[in-house]
């Protein structure tokens, strides 16, 4: 047989169970030498589980893994695995308390002898330069921003010299330009003959960078096809098991005399943003865009009271909640979807019902008591309206897949029928159907007369906005009305537009 027909990587008949959960059910994948292969599927389809099996972190219950036709190394042979496959995992494997250099050379800082820190830092600098990563090797990894961490992970993965690299949702936390820089790098690697497996919920990215695509659904392999032969609709249908249309942003007419439900005046916070003015009317969705460190998240977090501004005022629904006091802002009629759902979004051990009703607990009973029946009823309505996939309101949120957990966070924001919504990156890491449900929920709220601020790194999300404020280096530099093209907006965000 000619070499080219032997896949560079193959998984055959892999089954993996976690207790009663079947994460992979007789699934497989074959990736040809030199191609960039996409693996897509809804949240919880088993993608990351396959990754951990392909990288030797977990042992499959059944099935086998082949690299270039040869059986995979023994389970305990970590070095053997690492020569075959490198990986940027979905969950960060950066150790925040160690320096960048040490993270790069973790567990191989030196041979037998003692570590020579100076030479290790030098090697690290070389490596980082080689991949064009601009961070100081001596910094603590915990102080890096998201993109820098991601680059660090990629540089580390590549440094083992493996010819096969897995990237599990590398773009979920990156903004547009960073994603472009990542793709540049991937194209470059492909040109050097490196095989890649790429996981993402952004299907456009799959079309942009991959040659073929495998779809998993409910722990099973559904199809593998060259990207060129698979139209967008069919891909979505394969993922969801039903035909679906692309999300269509609704059109709204914001009445000019509509009440102002959320506003900021001359808001300034340290180095993060300066002199920001913002007005949101009832029934209006205002987008906030900007590249990394533009200050958009900081601004949004100030609006909800996570930070107190150095100067300036925030008005919510006509009132002035105490700066830096989330409770006051929420009581004033605000709903909030935080940036990082794992960090600020939910309490994993508590049930959906409790998480979703946390801000309105005081309305679910008298004298501080919370009626479980009322809470349950409320939660059931939320589950229904946001189509959360769950066994019931008493399921702990920690057991939900990412997209469904994000819906719970949205449910929490909407729980009190807020007059104003502040929503940050609501669709990060959620699958295409969940994304539609979440954006739909924001639009529904606007239709009911709420005003919303939507902060997002994804241009697609911003299409539901009536206008988009673009921030650059902590200032609002432009207001873009509906009907923008991606290129326009990116140009403003990067500070290269000519007006």
């Amino acid at each position: 047989m000619p070499d080219s027909t032997i896949p560079a990587v193959e998984a055959r008949g892999v089954t993996k169970r976690f207790g009663p959960t079947t994460a992979l059910d007789d699934a497989g994948i074959a990736i040809a030498e030199g191609e960039t292969h996409a693996l897509v599927g809804r949240n919880g389809a088993g993608k990351s589980t396959l990754v951990s099996i392909l990288t030797g972190l977990q042992r499959p219950d059944e099935g086998k893994i082949l690299f270039a036709g040869r059986p995979a190394p023994a389970f305990a042979d970590r070095d053997g695995w690492r020569r075959n496959v490198a990986c940027v995992y979905q969950k960060s494997t950066i150790i925040p308390t160690l320096t960048v250099a040490e993270n790069l050379y973790l567990n191989r800082q030196a041979g037998r002898g003692p570590i020579n820190w100076r030479s290790m830092r030098a090697r690290a600098r070389d490596l980082l330069d080689q991949y064009g990563v601009d961070v100081d090797a001596g910094r603590l990894a915990g102080d890096l921003n998201v993109e820098q961490r991601q680059l660090l992970e990629i540089a580390r993965a590549l440094s083992f010299g493996a010819r096969f690299i897995i990237l599990d949702e590398p773009t979920a936390q990156l903004d547009g330009p960073a994603i472009e820089r990542l793709f540049e790098r991937m194209r470059d690697l492909r040109a050097r003959g490196v095989t890649m497996m790429f996981i993402s919920h952004h299907l456009e990215e799959v079309y942009q960078i991959c040659q073929s695509v495998t779809v998993f659904r409910d722990a099973r392999h559904i199809l593998t096809r060259p990207v060129a032969d698979l139209p967008h609709d069919e891909l979505v249908a394969a993922m969801t098991g039903e035909a679906a249309a692309r999300y269509q942003a609704r059109s709204r007419a914001v009445r000019p005399d509509a009440a102002v439900v959320l506003s900021a005046e001359k808001l300034t916070l340290g180095e993060r943003y300066h002199d920001v003015d913002l007005t949101v009317h009832a029934g209006e969705i205002v987008g906030l865009a900007g590249s990394g460190s533009s200050g958009k998240v900081g601004l949004a977090e100030t609006l909800v009271g996570l930070y107190a501004a150095d100067s300036g005022t925030v008005t919510v629904n006509g009132g002035r909640p105490k700066p830096g006091d989330v409770t006051a802002a929420l009581r004033a009629g605000l709903g909030f979807v935080p940036q990082d759902r794992h960090k600020e979004g939910f309490v994993p051990l508590l049930s959906i019902a409790e998480n979703a009703t946390l801000p309105i607990a005081h309305k679910l009973g008298r004298f501080g008591a919370v009626s479980p029946a009322l809470r349950r009823a409320k939660a059931e309505r939320m589950i229904e309206s946001l189509t959360i996939k769950t066994t019931g309101p008493s399921q702990p949120v920690g057991d939900l897949s990412g997209g469904n957990a994000q819906k719970v966070v949205m449910a929490r924001a909407l729980a009190d029928d807020p007059k104003a919504l502040v929503v940050i990156n609501p669709t990060a890491g959620v699958d295409v159907r969940a994304k539609q449900a979440l954006l739909g929920a924001v639009e529904d709220a606007a239709d009911r007369g709420a005003g919303a601020v939507l902060v997002s790194d994804e241009l697609d999300d911003l299409r539901i906005c009536d206008r988009v404020l673009v921030m650059f280096h902590g200032r609002v530099v432009k207001e873009v009305p509906r009907g923008w093209t991606d290129a326009d907006l990116v140009a403003v965000m990067e500070g290269v537009s000519d007006d």
Binding site: T21, D218, E344, F346, V347
Partner: protein, 340 residues
């Protein structure tokens, strides 16, 4: 109605499997009940005296102070914090409360405030200690472990300092009452304990602020982002913890008839053991007060049975520790979950 919640037909096995989890979590509360039953049977076999009302009442009464401390510690642990200083509050609060009201001749401080103030002072001191701990931990952002470790030493030191290490036994009658009275056939302290646990279980289960404690322990950032005033709640938990410790001290004072200079010394290890055996996690957000109470009962029964069985003095400590270790391993095996 259920259509929306049920997984689409294509999803195999997954959803039903998950449905089991919350139910199992609820059972975890009852995990120690079989152990308690076994201990009661073993106790009855070892000595018929075990099942006598008197003996069982004694077991309950002996555990009252411990159980109040465990109640306090369990709340604090669920909120994701730590308090080692409770055991010294058990000594200091009544000592200071008594010292302020009794004459200097009886080792008092010489202030001789009205006797009626004794008990309120004692409870107030407990609450103040809790408030001070909370202040250092929340405002100064110091580690709870190390703050309360420091306070443990300071409070005990203060007690020895102003009593000169003397036991205070010239107690006002009011101090003795609660530790000794019997109401409807059971010691008053047992009733107080039962009441405290009922209130605790109801508040932590069905009240907004109680649930907030779980939310804070489970993910403090999420709780804050959801509008919970986290610092205020945690502070309240520390204050209530101190108050309960002072109450425990009061009961102990009454039961034993004096404030010993070493009152409460060394209890904190037992408090943690009971809480953790009862399923409360040191990581916060996990566990129930009912479970913690079961932990207390298990330890109390083991002690009582070892005493009744007349285990040799020489080996009793090793056996006691061994039983605790085995209980932990069994809890691990039956719950099937890694501990934390």
């Amino acid at each position: 109605m259920t259509e929306t919640t049920v997984a689409p037909p294509g999803s195999p096995g997954k959803s039903p499997a998950r449905a089991g989890v919350p139910r199992l979590a609820r059972f975890r509360d009852l995990a120690l009940v079989p152990a308690i039953v076994v201990l009661i049977v073993v106790g009855a076999l070892i000595d018929p005296a075990f099942l006598s009302g008197d003996n069982l009442t004694n077991v309950l009464q002996q555990q009252t102070e411990l159980s109040l401390l465990v109640l306090a510690e369990a709340m604090i642990l669920i909120a994701g914090k730590f308090d080692l200083s409770l055991e010294s509050t058990v000594g200091l609060a009544p000592a200071l409360g008594v010292g302020l009201v009794i004459p200097a001749a009886a080792n008092g401080l010489g202030t001789e405030w009205p006797t009626a103030l004794g008990i309120p002072l004692c409870l107030l001191i407990g609450a103040l200690v809790g408030a001070f701990n909370g202040l250092l931990i929340l405002r100064f952002k110091l580690s709870a472990f190390i703050v309360t470790l420091g306070m443990l030493i300071v409070l005990r030191g203060l007690q020895i300092g102003f009593t000169g290490g003397q036991n205070l036994f010239a107690l006002p009658e009011s101090f003795l009452y609660l530790g000794n009275a019997r109401w409807i056939g059971l010691p008053a302290s047992v009733w107080i304990c039962i009441a405290a646990y009922i209130v605790g279980i109801v508040v932590l289960g069905y009240f907004r602020h109680g649930r907030a404690i779980y939310a804070i322990g489970g993910n403090v950032d999420a709780a804050r982002a959801a509008g919970v005033r986290t610092d205020r709640v945690v502070w309240a938990v520390f204050i209530i913890g101190g108050l309960l410790a002072a109450l425990a001290g009061l009961l102990m004072t009454g039961r034993l008839g004096s404030v010993a200079a070493a009152q409460g010394d060394g209890m904190i290890f037992t408090v943690f053991a009971a809480a953790v055996i009862g399923g409360v996690s040191l990581d916060g957000g996990k566990g129930t007060l009912f479970g913690a109470l079961c932990g207390v009962l298990v330890l109390g029964l083991i002690n009582n049975i070892l005493t009744l069985a007349g285990v040799s003095a020489q080996w009793i400590q090793a056996i006691y520790g061994g039983i605790i270790l085995i209980a932990l391993m069994l809890a691990r095996v039956t719950s099937g979950k890694a501990q934390d």
